[in-house]
């Protein structure tokens, strides 16, 4: 979870990554950020997040991102 949070912090230092919500809905995360985030996650957790998982619900908050990572790990 910490990895996810500091990844987010590196992308967007100005927001409080830990409990920010609506990263996508408020337009903070752009498509470039999402892709960078996914590549970092793939690298960090040795998973490969497929394109169809790029959905607002998966990226709206740090918890959602982490849940996605866990789901990817066990399949």
């Amino acid at each position: 979870m910490e990895i996810v949070i500091n990844l987010l912090k590196r992308l967007h230092p100005e927001i409080d990554a830990a409990n920010a919500y609506g990263l996508v809905d408020d337009g903070i995360l752009t498509s470039l950020d999402v892709v960078t985030l996914i590549m970092e996650l793939n690298e960090a957790f040795e998973i490969s997040i497929p394109v169809e998982e790029i959905l607002p619900t998966n990226f709206n908050s740090a918890e959602a991102i982490f849940a996605l990572v866990e789901r990817m790990q066990d399949c």
């Binding site: 337009g27 892709v35 790029i54």
Partner: protein
């Protein structure tokens, strides 16, 4: 058949009349026949082409669906398989699906690029004369992209595969979006495309108002600006410096009036048929960064390239291989960053090439990509500054300056599309910066030499003002006009906001506005004897 021709008006009038008089069950078949008739005007061979491409998409999607279904059945039938075996089997069927999807997309793209680039290649090579005089099927890019989104969405499971071939044909041949988009997603369009509707006065009148507004923007504003743009374009040596700035502004006005006008006509007509199309423009000149601009301008194109080119590209195996390679050189953090930059540039290059098989279009795409990346990086660099002077950065002045900056940057890049000769464009960009020329703006010599009378200049000025006012009125209050990328398929939002509701309640205001708009079109429009009906700019894509 052009959207602003008399034949289209009669065609749509009869279709609308029939649409609401035939029994409910015959409504959609009528729409299908109407779409085919509409497209047949541009040549019966094109109809054959679009139908065969739809057959292709249908077959591939059914194949993908069959494999998925079979996977589910086999997994259910073989409880005894171990976890490992299950995973291997589903991974294998996923690979099969992927191959079908790639095959479908490849053939669709083959058809598109054959028509888009064969003439250019044939001319360059000089053989096969008949190939170079190939008639470009109208709107081929738009229905090809639509079919690609359908196939990929079925593969990604975002959309259920369409069993009935007729409904898929209606999706791909639906006439308002055929000429110049918007590129609708199957998930969004099918929400309203197949359900028969009763006559809804509110929807029809709002749609009608928007169609008339589209005609006004195209025939009055865009075509008047076109005269001046044409004069400047033909004599770049005479109109350098100030001329380029004027061209930048005028061409932006022209393409905005032309493109959003065309969209208003398409979306308005669709709304009159009770079918909701996705907005292609959401107040693009209110955007403060180029990145935001491309989320408000030609939205369906940029989201198409994002969802179906940028994402698969950057998450593909090759991208990971490249990123791994770069890690040795640049270290982890910069490796992913640079890879993302590369994929962004590649996506923008493809967008440019889709606009035209010329160096200027490719360059236009690349530069847009570069500017977007720079924009993001510079934002990070200026972040500490933003913290230091928060009241300035949140203030209106800063927002206004950013809007003007974005307008100029995007306008400047678009001149590549007009001058078409790259070295010439660069020299003209250079001439923008010697300030001696700007005197001509004040003493009015330049205004009269552009082929527009003073009356027409005033008409243009009022036109732009009117577009800005209408833009402001239809802006949802507090609307975050960001398009949610990768959003699941949902019905596109209703246009018009408070302005539309106000109109709905005041029929008198509606009547007066409609009458005034029609009179303005009839008197100030550029049509009739002596005018060659100027085509929509995005008609040749």
């Amino acid at each position: 058949m052009q959207l602003h021709s008399m034949t289209f008006l009669c065609f749509f009038g009869c279709l609308l009349l029939l649409y609401y008089t035939v029994p409910r069950c015959a409504q959609k078949p009528l729409l299908f026949v109407g779409s085919i008739v509409f497209y047949a005007f541009s040549g019966w061979r094109n109809v054959l082409l679009i139908l065969s491409m739809t057959v292709l998409a249908y077959a591939v999607a059914r194949e993908i669906d069959r494999v998925a279904h079979q996977k589910k059945m086999s997994l259910a039938a073989h409880e005894e398989w171990s976890e490992e075996q299950r995973k291997a089997f589903s991974r294998r069927s996923r690979a099969v699906q992927r191959r079908w999807m790639l095959l479908g997309v490849a053939i669709l793209l083959l058809g598109l690029s054959f028509f888009k680039f064969a003439p250019a290649v044939a001319k360059a090579v000089g053989t096969l004369p008949r190939l170079s005089s190939l008639i470009f099927p109208m709107g081929i890019s738009f229905f090809t992209f639509q079919l690609i989104t359908y196939v990929v969405d079925v593969y990604r499971g975002k959309v259920a595969c369409e069993r009935s071939f007729y409904r898929l044909c209606l999706f791909s041949c639906y006439f308002p979006q055929l000429v110049q988009g918007p590129i609708s997603r199957y998930g969004e369009l099918s929400a309203t495309l197949y359900t028969p509707v009763g006559f809804d006065a509110g929807g029809v009148s709002a749609g009608l108002m928007r169609v008339v507004w589209g005609y006004l923007k195209k025939l009055v504003i865009a075509d008047t600006a076109m005269i001046a743009v044409g004069t400047i374009m033909q004599a770049p040596e005479r109109f350098s410096g100030v001329g380029v700035l004027l061209l930048l502004v005028l061409y932006t006005v022209q393409i905005y009036g032309d493109f959003t006008g065309g969209m208003d006509i398409a979306i308005g007509c669709s709304e009159m048929l009770g079918i909701r199309l996705r907005e292609n423009f959401l107040h693009p000149f209110a955007s403060t960064t180029v990145g935001e601009y491309w989320r408000r301008w030609h939205i369906t194109m940029s989201t198409f390239f994002t969802d179906y080119v940028f994402y698969p590209l950057s998450l593909s195996k090759t991208a990971q291989w490249v990123s791994a390679r770069l890690r040795h050189v640049l270290g982890a953090r910069w490796a992913t960053q640079v890879t993302v930059w590369l994929t962004t540039l590649l996506t923008w290059l493809l967008t440019g090439i889709w606009h035209g098989a010329g160096l200027n279009f490719a360059l236009w795409g690349l530069l847009n990509g570069v500017v977007m990346i720079l924009g993001e990086q510079l934002a990070r660099v200026f972040a500490p500054l933003r913290k230091k002077f928060p009241h300035y950065y949140e203030g209106e002045l800063h927002r206004l300056l950013c809007c003007v900056r974005t307008f100029l940057i995007v306008g400047l890049l678009r001149t590549l599309d007009v001058y078409r000769d790259v070295p010439l464009t660069f020299s003209l960009w250079g001439s923008l910066f010697d300030l001696r020329q700007y005197g001509a703006l004040l003493d009015g010599t330049v205004w009269s030499s552009l082929g527009l009378s003073s009356g027409q200049w005033w008409l243009l000025a009022f036109g732009v003002l009117l577009m800005a006012v209408v833009g402001r009125l239809t802006l949802e209050d507090g609307e975050v006009a960001q398009v949610k990328w990768g959003a699941a398929a949902q019905t596109p939002p209703r246009w018009g906001g408070r302005f539309r509701d106000a109109l709905g309640r005041r029929p008198m205001l509606y009547a007066v506005l409609m009458a005034l708009m029609l009179v303005v079109i009839v008197i100030f429009g550029r049509y009739g004897y002596g005018y060659d009906a100027s085509d929509f700019i995005y008609n040749q894509f």
